[in-house]
Symmetry: C2
């Protein structure tokens, strides 16, 4: 019944549309996440949560952003995985409400953990395999060159690995 009132309100009063300010904030985050290689819907969801004073449920996102239930569900999952969104403790309702994590440290940490680390790690594996290939290279001059280049990549990866924690620390303030 409560839910129905909410729905009717939204339909009739146009509360489902975003205000100008909300639109701007959402767009800001859409741009933001694009830089990070994440899909638009994720930026929209996070943006709306970010500018909402109250936690929102999946249906709110669907209604106000005009996206599908599927997108909202997947977007929320991804955001939870990144630690960018968490479930909010809201009254006795059955549905779950979400609120944004707003500490830069946490956001950056989640992104590094989910998006950067895995790539660094799989990269290390690939480079390891490459080492084999280089060792069996016949031509000594070529082998020396390859060794140098490969060593350089390894060095890059080590540097990157060392930099990430520093990054997190610096952004933690």
């Amino acid at each position: 019944m409560l839910a129905m009132n909410r729905q009717l309100d939204n339909e009739s009063k146009g509360a489902s549309e975003l205000g100008a300010l909300e639109r701007q904030v959402v767009d800001f985050f859409v741009d933001g996440v694009r830089v990070l290689g994440l899909p638009r819907s994720i930026g929209e969801i996070y943006g709306l949560l970010f500018i909402s004073q109250e936690p929102l449920a999946l249906d709110d996102l669907v209604l106000r952003l005009g996206i599908s239930k599927g997108s909202a569900s997947q977007g929320l999952r991804a955001l939870k995985g990144l630690g960018a969104v968490r479930e909010a403790a809201v009254g006795e309702e059955r549905r779950t409400y979400f609120e944004p994590a707003v500490e830069l440290k946490r956001l950056v940490g989640g992104f590094i953990r989910e998006q950067i680390r895995p790539h660094l790690d799989s990269g290390k594996v690939k480079i390891g395999r490459l080492g084999e290939a280089v060792r069996v290279e016949g031509n000594p001059e070529r082998r020396e060159f390859l060794t140098e280049r490969l060593g350089r990549i390894e060095h890059w990866m080590r540097s990157s690995g060392r930099v990430l924690p520093v990054l997190q620390k610096l952004l933690g303030e």
Copy 2:
């Protein structure tokens, strides 16, 4: 005529195909640039240059990677813009040859300059405009909330701006 010989050679001897090791390195970079949100062809081009002892010309890339002249041209332009590739001084030939920049510092610097900075800057502009919208918000409680959130974004952006130079320095070794 020379060019024709080259082509015949490539067709007949298969010199145009990548060896196993080259293929692996190219794939490694394809993955790498994808993380950065750059297209596959750019990873291929940089990867092949990286593992080649000699500088390569546009036609070499087309031939060996099996990509179109258009892709090679655009990819090289982007890589030049990033400072990831430079023209190599090669004998008296008319065509221009390219070699990779292999210093992490330079690569990261170029990426920050071309991809990150512009987004940070345009973000700042957008947030500035948002400030206006917040100041005219009628409801004081809402206005206070918005001010807090907006301040948080501004703080994020300042932190990010401060971190970039540190990043570059750390990766410079």
